[in-house]
């Protein structure tokens, strides 16, 4: 299977995973607890959940999967406009990976004091 074929699969697999992760996230933040149902999401309520390393792992996985799907989609859009040569496309890919890692780090460090 070619590399492009694998990427095609991964975009759809991450899309499918995001369906579940997003629905779950929506349930957690709007229905799981009484404060959530009231729309009362304060620091205390949220920290009560994300102090648990399992929830941290789930949230971070969600972020990484979403970042892959979104930034890969963005790369696809840019490639459709075909204004980059072969070398520039490689630079673009590296740049997007870099942006993705930074962005993920930004999200992960939200939990640093917990």
């Amino acid at each position: 299977m070619s590399r492009n074929a694998i990427k095609w699969y991964v975009q759809r697999i991450t899309g499918g995973l995001l369906l579940f992760l997003l629905a779950a996230h929506f349930w957690v933040e709007h229905f799981m607890t009484a404060p959530a149902r009231r729309g009362d999401l304060t620091y205390q309520v949220i920290v009560a959940r994300v102090s648990n390393p399992l929830w941290q792992a789930i949230d971070i996985s969600f972020l990484v999967i979403a970042l892959y799907h979104g930034l890969n989609g963005l790369r696809d859009i840019i490639l459709d406009y075909d204004f980059l040569g072969r070398r520039a496309v490689k630079v673009l890919t590296v740049a997007l990976v870099f942006v993705g890692l930074l962005w993920a780090w930004w999200g992960i460090t939200a939990f640093r004091h917990l």
């Binding site: 759809r12 729309g39 620091y43 979104g70 989609g73 859009i77 962005w103 930004w106 460090t109 939200a110």
Partner: protein
Amino acid sequence: MTSPARGFLRKYRWRFSGMVAWVIQRVTGLLLLFYLFLHIHTVSKLAEGPEAFNQAMATFHSPFFKLLEIGLLGTVVLHAVNGIRITLIDLGIGVERQRYLFWFLTVGIGILIFLAGAIPMFLFAVLKV
């Protein structure tokens, strides 16, 4: 120069449904990427302590932001349901009926799911019923 875009604007929305779907997928995708940026920006305030975080969250309680949230729900639902349609077509299912898949699945089912979420949100958070 002309383009199919002008064609479908006239009266060929049905004939060029696939193109409408593509535009929607791209636009919603970019909007969601932008939203993800804003979302992580807010969540990162958890590290700054209760006051900073709660203050950031307080801005989202206004009816205007609740309306934006409803818009976000619509964006997500469109992108997700159309994504399902695209995957079905990629697998060879419904290729001959892709326009029906768009109007009945993406738009039809999409509207149903959207309303299931948007109506309660609107009533409780915007109108404060």
